[in-house]
């Protein structure tokens, strides 16, 4: 398997030209490796009327390098979900631009799949129906081959026995895995994870993190991962983006230089502690500010 560094901006944009789609055998592999560069340039966003607006994001510029896992952390209520909505295309920035491979993000599309805070599996569809939903809607994959692909994905995420169950019959961890499968079948170049493991118990959470990293190492898609847990952030991240208090800007970006594949022991190394302390101090400062505002 190639390391993350082999995917540069140049190679990813070359793959986007779909030159590989004609070569059937290598196409599948090449597609899986496709990832995109995502950028926010001087983005501001506020809600409400002009005279009573709540300025959520203020002049944010941040880069999510292709094929890397960038984790966003910030004090609660700082606008992390707004950031996700802008990147996913559910909302538009008031000022500035949101770009994918240099092109403006104009709306939601299958190149950017979002895994939501709470499960967004469609309750009236079985796990298998949920996974095949996207390709069926677009009509780009059909019939038995689509079902087979979906089944393979579900087996891979450990849900082989649960294909014909409804989401409510799955545990929290299973639901998140089903959602990962549902996102991956659309072959996105960017995965946006909005606190995907929140609400899971500690054990399933750490299992999901490990599983998620395995998937990431395999697919090398651009990953944007929002969380409020510092340990989770350091364990997962290539880049750690720390947001400031509202109106939100980027406070610092820390490059997390831990080797991959990762395991939990790495969190107890001196290097990881250093990152943790650095992040804690920055976040603590920001949290104090919002606390002071409340007072």
């Amino acid at each position: 398997m190639s390391t993350p560094k082999t995917i540069t901006k140049a190679s990813s944009s070359a793959k986007n030209k779909k030159s590989s789609s004609s070569k059937a055998s290598s196409a599948a592999k090449a597609k899986k490796l496709t990832s995109s560069l995502v950028e926010l340039k001087n983005v501001s966003k506020s809600y409400g009327e002009e005279w009573a607006s709540d300025n959520v994001l203020k002049n944010i510029s941040v880069e999510f390098p292709a094929g890397e896992l960038t984790v966003i952390v910030g004090p609660s209520g700082c606008g992390k979900s707004t950031l996700v909505n802008l990147l996913a295309g559910f909302e538009k920035p008031d000022e500035g631009r949101a770009l994918i491979d240099g092109k403006e993000i104009t709306g939601p599309a299958k190149d950017r799949m979002v895994v939501f805070q709470e499960t967004a599996l469609i309750p009236w569809q079985t796990t298998l129906q949920n996974v095949t939903f996207g390709p069926k809607m677009r009509g780009d994959k059909k019939g038995p081959s689509l079902v087979r692909e979906a089944e393979d994905l579900l087996i891979k995420v450990g849900l082989g026995e649960f294909m014909n169950k409804y989401p409510i019959q799955l545990s929290g961890g299973m639901q998140r895995r089903a959602e990962l499968a549902r996102a991956l079948i659309n072959e996105p170049t960017v995965m946006i994870m909005d606190e995907p493991f929140r609400g899971l118990d500690a054990m399933s959470r750490s299992l999901m993190q490990e599983f998620f990293l395995e998937l990431f190492d395999e697919n090398q898609k651009t990953n944007i991962f929002v969380t409020s847990e510092i340990d989770e952030a350091i364990f997962l991240a290539d880049n750690l983006v720390i947001l400031s208090n509202k109106p939100t800007t980027v406070q610092t970006v820390i490059k997390i230089d831990l080797p991959r594949p990762r395991n939990y022991k790495m969190l107890t190394t001196a290097k990881a502690f250093k990152y943790r302390r650095q992040a804690m101090e920055l976040l603590h400062g920001e949290a104090l500010k919002s606390f002071a505002v409340l007072k």
Binding site: A88, G89, F90, G107, P108, A109, K110, R112, M113, V114, F116, E118, A120, I122, P123, W124, F133, G134, M137, R138, Y166, I168, Q169, R182, N186
Partner: protein, 270 residues
Amino acid sequence: MTNFLQKLFGNTTGRRGVGAIIIFVIIWHVGSQLDEWTGYDILGIGLVPPPADVFVAFLGVVPKVGYWMSWVASFSRVITGFIVAMIIGIPFGLLLAVNRYFRGVFFPPFEILRPIPPLAWVPASLIFWPTNEMSIAFVTFLGAFFTIVINVLGGARNIDISYLRAAQSMGASQFDLFWKIVLPGTLPSIFTGAAVGMGITWEVVLAAEMISGGGTQGGGGLGFFIWSSYMGGSLEQIVVGMISIGIAGYLSSSAIRKIGYHFMPWRRLF
């Protein structure tokens, strides 16, 4: 029949239900006889005929064609009003939910008409509609219509936005969003609205039958059956009529539950 009995007594819920009804009948019997036994009387209950007398009266009306015609008459009015209310109410409620302009135009008059009790419409509809039958059906329709619309509207507006967003990201068209997300997401509310609406339809149809003296068109319905029993002074028959209505209402709601169960497999797991 054995199958039915097995279902009734084969499980705890069934046994509990039957037990509860038996206890109710015993209390009813004791209540009605208390005056004779002790000289004391519980207000109201003391005048109710005992269950045995009602049962005898029931046996008296069962062989009569008129009694069953009343069932047919009331049921057909309820079903007519209810089905028309569903046919108009569900699309109307969905349109209110998904289209801002439609809601802007139609919601205010809807909200003004909604609080008017269906029975207040009876005199007006007797005047406006050419036949008694039509005016009863219209009032029945009103009873179900408002409930169904409000439930559909509420249900459709409460669909979790993340389902819509997820579907949009995956490339669903507006058409698909409606048929695959909004409509199935509203189904539970549609069935709640239908069940409540069905109850109201029964309330309304009986009152309408009493007021209009539905008998003039042949087949007075269960409401008219009670009314004529009252005029004839047969207390037992009044209770027979009341219980018949109770059973009719129960049958209609179970039918709706059955249909809902069939259409919403994912809800069976709750």
